[in-house]
Symmetry: C2
């Protein structure tokens, strides 16, 4: 444990610390990811690489690897599962980016619009299928079950979220249900799958699943908060995507609930009617800040990070366990 | 066999005949399909039911059931695989319907365009996941492998097809590669999976796979031909979808190859440039007819139907085998 504490101090980012504990495994995951996005159809690796090499921290596959190693797993199937988890995540991102235009009619398609939505959807489908091939290769039917269930739950969560767009009647409970499905389900399944592949005891597997679940919730709440963070604006980072898309996230629910009459009208126009003008994002950020909605969102994220850490009480001491605790702490304190 | 022959005469449609040979199995598939599109999120079954209950003949799951029963399978897992096959097909249809609009920029989303592309994509993802859950339940890793591979190949085929849109340089070979992937792969996997679930001998399994593959090619070629069928217009059926979407299908490849200079210019404007006027579809149908492109497409379909039937030589005599032969014959003679 002493070494672990020392290394925390050496590194700004606990996710990097966790990576450094399983470097060969994560290199294997990276090789698999690049190998399996290959296709005789060049658009597929071109498009997939765009996301896969975009500098993400690979947090989800890292959970799979960490859980497996923490349980003393010595095989190689965990890398396949981790790559599958990364593919499910990437496919979800691709499908998330599909532009919605039911108002448009099908019909003549000009050459300049051929590459776009369709490619994202189909390359996403390809990666989903590649994920399932990897899971099948890993050969554990119980794990397949966990990850297939997670895929279904993610899709359900994304559909639920569609319903919350433009909808200020979305409650906190509904919102938590959405993010439990669209984000936390994959974190939970990733960690659980890593434990299961090495036939971990039931208590260990449940602990890893709970850790992943709460980490996912905390992670998403912070993401939502950062999208309205004035500090982000100062840092020159992009904010306001959720606002522009009229998504009703936790900060909006709280701010709307506590808003003055004038501010309520603002939310109705900008979110429910989807009518937005220049300066509206700045106003939204101000209201969210004044009403304490950002603080409340962050506090809820911290609560879930603590729950994640508490779940690890059932897991034996190990440097990986220590790093996972730091990851949970970092995910809710991060400013980006 | 006598009974079989008598029943052919009693029924206009050999697919119905095949259904009538496995009614309890297909009822089980139907129950599973309706049970598994269920979700606490009402949009999912609403949207999925729209396709699932649209009066399709369920030809793909029927191949799974037929292959299993033909091999004397007496269990119930084949119904799960057949439902999974139907879900993969339905998901593909949903994703196919996504409108492509890369020219549109993300940004403000008005309430009236919230339901559309995104719902189709996400409900498709849900059905894909449900398909994998069903396959996992069926519990045969070999079958999982076959169907996961088919899913990846289908997605590859769809991406390949994107590249052929607006592209008159698409060759016959490239086109056959596209339809082998986007259509025939699922027919082949459906039939193979049915054989595998009952541990059929290798020769039987290969025969069923070959049957499905050739049937799928034949089926798609006829679909392509019907999209330019003057007779269809007379029957008041919809034609010209491929033309309007500037898809380069087999009839177009042949007609363009054989076209006069004036007709070549027409194809370039309508397909490569995607500039279409009133009356263009009529002209396209006339050229395709005059050049013999429709006849050649039908002839190729008949060739593949014969190959499908020839593959069944390795399968023992049985009323289901007889019905499969009739299905292959029907698929290339159908006028709708």
């Amino acid at each position: 444990m002493q070494t672990a504490e020392a290394r925390i101090l050496d590194r700004d980012n606990p996710i990097d610390w966790l990576h450094s504990l399983v470097p060969a495994d994560m290199a294997a995951v990276d090789r698999l990811v690049h190998e399996r996005i290959g296709s005789a159809v060049p658009l597929i690796p071109d498009l997939a690489r765009h996301l896969v090499d975009s500098g993400g921290k690979r947090l989800r596959p890292l959970l799979t690897i960490a859980a497996a190693r923490l349980n003393g797993y010595r095989g190689t199937a965990h890398a396949k599962l981790a790559a599958a988890v990364e593919f499910i995540h990437t496919a979800t991102l691709l499908h998330d980016d599909v532009v919605d235009v039911s108002a448009l009619r099908r019909g003549k398609i000009a050459a300049n619009v051929v590459w776009g939505n369709k490619s994202s959807v189909l390359v996403g489908d390809y990666l989903f299928s590649r994920a399932f091939q990897l899971m099948v290769e890993a050969g554990d039917v119980g794990v397949l079950d966990v990850l297939a269930n997670a895929s279904a739950v993610i899709a359900e969560g994304e559909v639920l979220q569609l319903r919350s767009v433009n909808n200020l009647a979305t409650t906190r409970e509904e919102y938590l249900r959405i993010i439990a499905a669209k984000t936390a389900a994959l974190f939970a399944a990733a960690a659980e799958a890593g434990a299961m592949i090495g036939n971990a005891p039931r208590e260990f597997t449940s602990a890893m699943r709970a850790f992943g679940h709460h980490l996912g919730i905390a992670f998403q709440l912070i993401d939502d908060a950062l999208d309205y963070s004035g500090r982000q604006v100062q840092m020159g980072k992009s904010v306001g995507d959720d606002f522009r898309e009229a998504k009703v996230t936790h900060p909006v629910i709280v701010a709307h609930e506590r808003a003055s009459e004038a501010a309520k009208e603002f939310w109705h126009r900008a979110i429910e009617d989807g009518v937005q003008h220049d300066g509206d994002l700045k106003r939204a950020i101000a209201i969210i800040d004044e009403t304490g909605a950002l603080d409340e969102t962050r506090a809820l994220a911290h609560h879930h990070a603590r729950m994640a850490i508490a779940a690890l009480a059932a897991v034996p001491p190990h440097e990986i366990r220590q790093a996972l605790i730091s990851v949970a702490e970092f995910c809710v304190s991060r400013g980006y």
